[in-house]
Amino acid sequence: MAVVIGTLKNARTGEPFPNVSIIVDDQSSVTSDAYGNYSINVPAGKHTFNIVGFGIRETLLNIMVYTDGKLNIDLEEQMPTLKEVIVSAARTRNIRNVQMGVSRLSIAEIKRIPTVFGEADILRAITTLPGVKTVGEASTGFNVRGGSADQNLILFNESTIYNPAHFFGMFSSFNPEIVKDVELYKSSMPAKYGGRLSSVLDINSREGNKKKISGSAGIGPVTSRLQLEGPLAKDKTSFILGARSTYANWLIDLLPEEFDKSKASFQDFNLGISHQIDSNNNLYLNGYYSRDRFTLNEDTLYTYNNRNISLKWKRNLSKRLQGELIGGYDYYKYQISSEDNEVNAFKLGFDIRQLFGKLNFAYFQSQQHAFDFGLSATSYKLSPGSFQPVNDRSYVIPDTVETEYALENAAYFTHRFNPTNKLAISTGLRYSLYAYVGPQQVSYYLDGQPKTEDTRNRTTAYEKGKIINTYSGPELRVSVRYAFTPDFSVKASYNTQRQYIHLLSNTTAISPTDIWKLSDPNIQPQIGDQASLGFYKNLRSNTIETSIEVYYRNIKNYLDYKPGATLLMNDHIETDVITTKGKAYGVELLIKKPVGKLNGWVGYTYSRILLKAVDGTLGNLINDGAFYPANYDKPHDFIVAGNFRVNHRFSLSVNSTYSTGRPITYPIGRFYYAGSERVLYSDRNQYRIPDYYRTDFSMNIEGNHKVHQKTHNSWTIGVYNLLGRRNPYSVYFVSEQGRINGYKLSIFGSAIPFINYNIRF
């Protein structure tokens, strides 16, 4: 047997081509990885490599293999001026891949999905996938298979993004012009990822054109975008630069009236440099910066900020062994300040920093056996809150909640085993070790008693660097695939996950003031497991993909809050939280037609997520200790995303979504107190707001496709919420002038037309 390895590259720009299939002798196929690398095990002799993939011209190579060797292949792009070629033979990735519950969206697909104001939005696109939901239109946080929004690991070029949203959560903070692709793992998470219970969203940016300077610019109603890329050293080093800025203040006027007198602005910047040291060594540097500023009703200023930098060194250690070493720094902070009342003028800040290193290896032994293994380490420094006077006239007492430190280390090992062409087994084990580290004052409470001020029996001060407590445990990642025929397979998987960092939020949507909390002696890590089973069948020579996936999940130690909990500036947060356990289950149906004049998908999900307060020592349990639906429990969810290419220059997209209204805590009665009628709430989340239904429409108009002209331009014109439905975001009752008034709040209460102009050069 000989090993043939190499890289698939774009012949025009020199960028690697991921997710391209090489079909060997019409029998087996391999797919290129995120760097365009492939590796094939064949006996010496004559072979045909048929290379097919989305956006490339089909390439057939006749190869004589003598021994192990390297073969880089330059591929031609499928230019839109050419007659369409239906790529079908190779589109069996969904059948053959051993992983299940993986959704991949290319930026081309993302851009086809109509969004508010026509800004291509990665997180919005993700929420059109089965099993992914959001609580409402003003929230970019998303919920995967019944997981809360903080249970998603959002990686942008290996960096963790803590706040992926701009502008009250209405836009995602990733510039679509520099994103290459997006992958969401919602069930079988590869063992190299960990630290979150529900999903991994892996966003990668492009490497940049290695041959010539090029770029694009876009203008839309909310943001302007600019992207520039090109070689720093031809064929060796390239850069890509992205910037977005907003002029969204006018948009505020369109928001609900409580936002009157508000102001908002945001920016984000990306820089990527990739450098090829030699044929075996590559370096990638990525930087990301995003900034938001908004003033709610004149006096309170909110700012938040993501800063991330990562460096990756990828090396082919041998023909069979590939390694990558990644280091980076992530920073997220926000600040709220108010100077309206000079005695109370304050600024409140939160920040989290993490320093991480990852070492990953992939060893390709043979067509039957392959191994992934590696290590990762993360050091956290989290400042839960600092409350400071703004000036000397303020009487505010400076107060700081003690900074928290922790280390999270993990080692993983995965064995990918293909005993026959039909059966594939992937067995992964991840072992994570978490340590909460001093300096810190830790309070301890009486055993078997609710954690309150009265049951606090001692406080211990730990010195710097002292390990206060540790949590550790194995995480199992097993999946099996059996392909009965080349176009039908069954997959099953079982996963366990552990999460050591928690988002503290008692609002429905992720709010700008949510903070994160590290696990400590009083707050245990969240632990989850998930079993899933899926059936995958491709029809019509693989031009239609269908699948059914069912899953069941358990979640332990998920945090919920006592009524009236104080989350900000709380030195003893453990006295305000309640440990809950959750169960989630569902079935996801998907029919997808990825190619052709008419393409798109239809998805339906039935899912439930129920939580239950478990700590019996707590006296009054939420809903008397019975299971209750989580805020984002929306059992029925139906989506159609379609795109019709009328011709090469003109295409239409329609996106339609229906879901059950989310649960709300509805008043059970009224009472009279302090001069006003008021409402009384009791059981949590026992009613639902009306169902949600929305249809969006957009048209893409390309300029002419003459290959040699200097610029290419395109227009996107469309309507968000075409039917103008007033989908409720919330229903609430408020006491005004002594009376109770009920209101239904819709974020986008009418049809919103939009237009965007893009230029490529």
Partner: protein
């Protein structure tokens, strides 16, 4: 060039996007009837008044249900027991409890259905006096605020409520009154007893007002807004007065009011906390899980009254005009209160024929605008 022209087009295409509509309760809720107790134990030499009512269903016209016939006792840690007696439905009063700062007090309520409710013991707190009440005026209206402080740093948590009174003036001063006993049925008004030019209206605070200095280096409350009067409101058309009462409370009481406010007043934005169950410091002895709304504190009360006169540029106006009513129609117009006579207007040619300058009740009779003509005793001039 294309780019430049595009932006205005995009704006023009946009229409109002978000909206807030009225929503009416759609779910049947059970007629619950949980106990609601409001009031404080007054530690000064003043009456203590507790109001006891029941919760009522969300939908339907059913309103406030007072709890009558309950046995209400204030118990001291010194084994004292003083009764409160019902003075009107739901109102239970004791004219002077003579509470002592050395003891703690609680309330026991026995309702007619045989259930017994007991509050937690509460320490007696002393409320510091109100420093000042001021206001800020801008084109939106007038915001009234309070300043207060406790030099001993003992209060920290403050609560307020108020009564407000305002004078309204009729556009025209009526010198005549309709009197069917005389002919023609109009005679001069007996002033000031029959005056209808100046009236007084009143209201009370309708939202929860409280503040904390827990995060400040001194026990100071600075410019805490207590009332906002929108520009053009009748309340400041002549003279306005507010009587503010200040109470001190403990941290748990503050949390109780804070949660009640979050649940019932500051709700409706995208980032609000979820509403949640509210509990005070009163429990049902036979069923501790039964919901009881209320928080019993023992404290002294401080009061302050201020007057605010009509600010310059206040947008209040009435649109009025006078009509002349002839002697033959007087009985009809004045008797049916369609017009109110203001003054006599003799005919130019025949001064013996008296017509009447008159106006609509809204312009002449301030009682038609909901006012009462009795001047409050605290009112100046």
């Amino acid at each position: 060039m294309q780019i430049k022209t595009l932006y205005p087009i995009a704006i023009l295409l946009l229409v109002l996007v978000s909206c807030k509509e009225r929503y009416y309760p759609q779910f049947q809720t059970t007629p619950t009837g949980y106990l609601v107790v409001e009031g404080i134990l007054n530690a000064g030499n003043e009456p203590t008044l507790l109001t006891i009512s029941r919760t009522f269903p969300m939908s339907g016209e059913g309103g406030l249900v007072f709890e009558t016939g309950a046995m209400v006792t204030v118990e001291g840690s010194d084994q004292s027991a003083k009764p409160l007696t019902m003075t009107s439905p739901g109102n239970y009063q004791n004219n002077n409890l003579n509470l002592s700062a050395a003891n703690e007090y609680r309330v026991r309520i026995r309702t007619t259905d045989g259930k017994e409710y007991l509050s937690d013991f509460s320490k007696v707190k002393i409320t510091p006096p109100i420093d000042s009440i001021g206001y800020k005026a801008n084109e939106d209206g007038v915001e009234i605020y309070v300043n207060t402080q406790d030099p001993t740093n003992n209060t920290i948590y403050y609560r307020w409520d108020f009564d407000e009174t305002w004078q309204i003036n009729s556009m025209y001063e009526s010198m005549l009154i309709f009197d069917p006993g005389v002919a023609p049925p109009v005679r001069p008004r007996i002033l000031p007893d029959e005056q209808i030019t100046r009236c007084w209206k009143n209201d009370r605070s309708r939202s929860l007002l409280f503040a904390s200095s827990a995060k400040l280096s001194s026990d100071i409350i600075y410019q805490k807004p207590i009332q906002f009067i929108a520009n053009g409101s009748e309340k400041l058309s002549a003279l306005y007065s507010i009587m503010l009462r200040q109470y001190s409370m403990d941290k748990r009481a503050y949390e109780f009011f804070d949660l009640m406010k979050k649940n019932t007043e500051s709700i409706g934005t995208v980032f609000d906390p979820q509403p949640s169950e509210i509990r005070g410091n009163i429990k049902c002895l036979s069923d501790p899980s039964e919901i009881v709304i209320g928080y019993i504190s023992a404290t002294t009360v401080e009061r302050k009254r201020v007057f605010i006169s009509r600010p310059a540029g206040w947008n209040f106006f009435q649109s009025c005009e006078t009509v002349v009513v002839g002697p033959d129609s007087a009985a009809h117009y004045f008797g049916n209160n369609i017009y109110v006579p203001i003054s006599e207007q003799p005919d130019e040619n025949n001064p013996a024929i008296i017509s009447y300058q008159s106006g609509t009740p809204e312009c002449v009779d301030c009682r038609a605008r909901g006012g009462a003509t009795t001047k409050p005793i605290f009112w100046p001039n």
